[in-house]
Symmetry: C2
């Protein structure tokens, strides 16, 4: 465990803030907690805080009793995982939650009551009207109305990974030419199901290659060289699964387009950590490929990789570990005889922009704002 006195009282520990990495801010560096520190997103949250030199006075890591006592390296120091309890949030300014909706429903209100701003990666509060749902590049302005780090607490929701990645690519177009309809098919990586699902993919694939029997640990079917409709519960009325309904509702909310019709099929593929989305967007009038490229290349958090001649487009192998969302295959949709539709292929790292990076960017906005 690495906890330092709050900078109100004392200088930052050199173990926490290497020289030159924490620029002077208008407010003291916050005391940060990560809840769910041993998960795939939790590990990435810690990595993002380190890589981005996030200014912090202290960092505490929480997980279940089972993981308590495990050690994690952070900025040259060794942090010890603590068991999460109702009292864990005393003296915490920002609590980054990534331990599932059940944990968030219980502990996030406790953390907020204790004065922390919760940035919650679960789906628990994403549709609550009083909770902002934020992708900083897209609707970071909504944070201006939030109390911020004044000790009054509050909860901010981090979106579903597909919604976060997708809206980064949609927003720059939607601002200029309102999108009227969206059709999406996803290619979602194992990381969206957590560290256990990534291990299921690795272990199942190793067994398949060796010709060994393998009993899937967390899925009712093999994952090796296989794909499957997202395992979220299916709504019996609409036939859409919970993942698809989340993406629809959250994309509308983030874009500020309440009734936007979105059709989507969410598929899990045997990829480790970057999500891909085949998108078709319908506009009121034709939007040219060159104008689309211009709008996207000027947008924050986006990179265009659209080399038709070299057949080089976004791929998980190149996007994994990257902060930017990549866009390629930009073309006029041949399925729309009016010429008013565009097709795109979008790939983003599920653990970065789809989860941890976006949460840390929200925290940066709060700290810097």
């Amino acid at each position: 465990m690495l906890t330092e006195p709050h900078p109100d009282e004392e200088a930052l520990s050199p173990a926490v803030a290497a020289p030159g990495l924490a620029p002077p801010r208008s407010r003291p560096a916050p005391r940060v907690a990560v809840v769910g520190a041993t998960g795939a997103v939790g590990a990435e949250l810690i990595a993002c805080l380190e890589a981005r030199a996030f200014p912090l006075a202290s960092l505490r890591l929480f997980a279940s009793a089972r993981s308590a006592g495990r050690r994690v390296r952070f900025r040259g120091a060794e942090l010890v995982i603590e068991e999460l309890t109702d009292e864990s949030f005393d003296g915490i300014d920002i609590a980054l939650f990534s331990a599932g909706a059940t944990i968030s429903r219980h502990y996030a209100p406790l953390a907020a009551e204790a004065g922390a701003v919760v940035i919650d990666n679960s789906s628990a509060f994403r549709m609550a009207p009083e909770v902002p749902l934020v992708v900083p590049e897209v609707n970071g302005a909504v944070l201006a109305g939030h109390g911020g780090l004044n000790g009054s607490g509050g909860i901010i929701a981090n979106p579903n990974c597909v919604a976060a990645i997708m809206t980064v690519a949609l927003a720059p177009l939607n601002r200029v030419h309102p999108i009227r309809r969206i059709q999406a098919a996803t290619y979602q990586a194992a990381s969206g199901g957590g560290a256990a699902m990534m291990e299921e993919l690795r272990a199942g694939t190793a067994a398949a290659l060796d010709g060994r029997e393998y009993t899937p640990a967390i899925l009712p079917h093999p994952y090796a060289f296989n794909l499957f409709s997202h395992n979220a519960e299916v709504d019996p009325r609409s036939g859409y699964n919970g993942e698809e309904l989340k993406v629809i509702a959250e994309t509308r909310r983030i874009l500020g387009a309440p009734g936007l019709p979105i059709g989507i099929t969410c598929i899990r593929v045997p990829v480790l950590r970057a999500h891909a989305i085949a998108l078709t967007l319908v506009f009121d009038a034709p939007v040219s490929v060159s104008e689309t490229r211009a709008m996207l290349s000027a947008a924050p958090g986006l990179r265009i990789l659209d080399d038709r001649e070299a057949n080089h487009f976004p791929m998980p192998s190149e996007v994994s570990g990257q902060d930017d969302v990549f866009v390629g295959r930009i073309r006029t949709d041949l399925g729309d005889p009016t010429g008013c539709s565009l097709s795109l292929f979008v790939v983003g790292d599920q653990l970065r922009k789809g989860a941890a990076l976006n949460a840390v960017q929200i925290a940066e906005t709060l700290v810097g704002g």
Copy 2:
């Protein structure tokens, strides 16, 4: 090599026709050749001929000089691969080609001139007006106008794998309610790139799991736990790749719907041998899920796997090695506010219905018709 006298002259070899497997037909059993016998589709062609007890008088297997002399088991006998030459087609009634478009362009006309009916799995002749492009369940009737096994030869084209699998699911709906537009995103298996690409996926994945360096043999990027836009050349004007343009043109031709607007994104995923397709179909009026299920369940070559409660839908792991095309995720598309669109998820074995099985079914239609 297993060549037998033509049944005009002598009885079938017991090695070729096991008792009870070759029902009496109105015409003598044909002398069959497989060109490209050592490829992924070639091996599956041989397996289909055996599994379906295709009535044949003889079977000869051709490949490049490099593979000549290799032995293949067939119905308890051992066949020797022969080198393909201009003279290979003397005395052949049906030549099943699966050795790529370059080989087909040279040898298929020679085989047809020698009196064989060529069933060509390559793209070489699929759009030639005089060559039927056939999925037997969908447009098998066009074979009635073809000369057939009367020694006059001719070429019949076997469609692109995505087009074959997709049209099996589309045709039963399109017959009752004409489809006005199609939006598709594919999840294509390694097998579509041949045995070498399947081996690339296996070898690259084994190396990735072991943490070994691996230089891709046939791709410019890793395939292990990765996906990528289909490697067919991209048309610089439209931005669509060759695979997508094939699927569009062939689907229109097989369905007999020349101007049907089709938008499609073709993606290769790290799956070994079954293709999946997320489809959205636009009709003139709403088509209910229950009517769709009824139309699809009565259709040949199709199986519905659409268990919303158990979250059980078509997957490559269950469809690989199956003859039927599987359909699930049948639902009204939420992306179309008019309610006139349906979404489906279709999975079919690329080597079976997407290639070898369809070719053998064409041959069966010729023999039985």
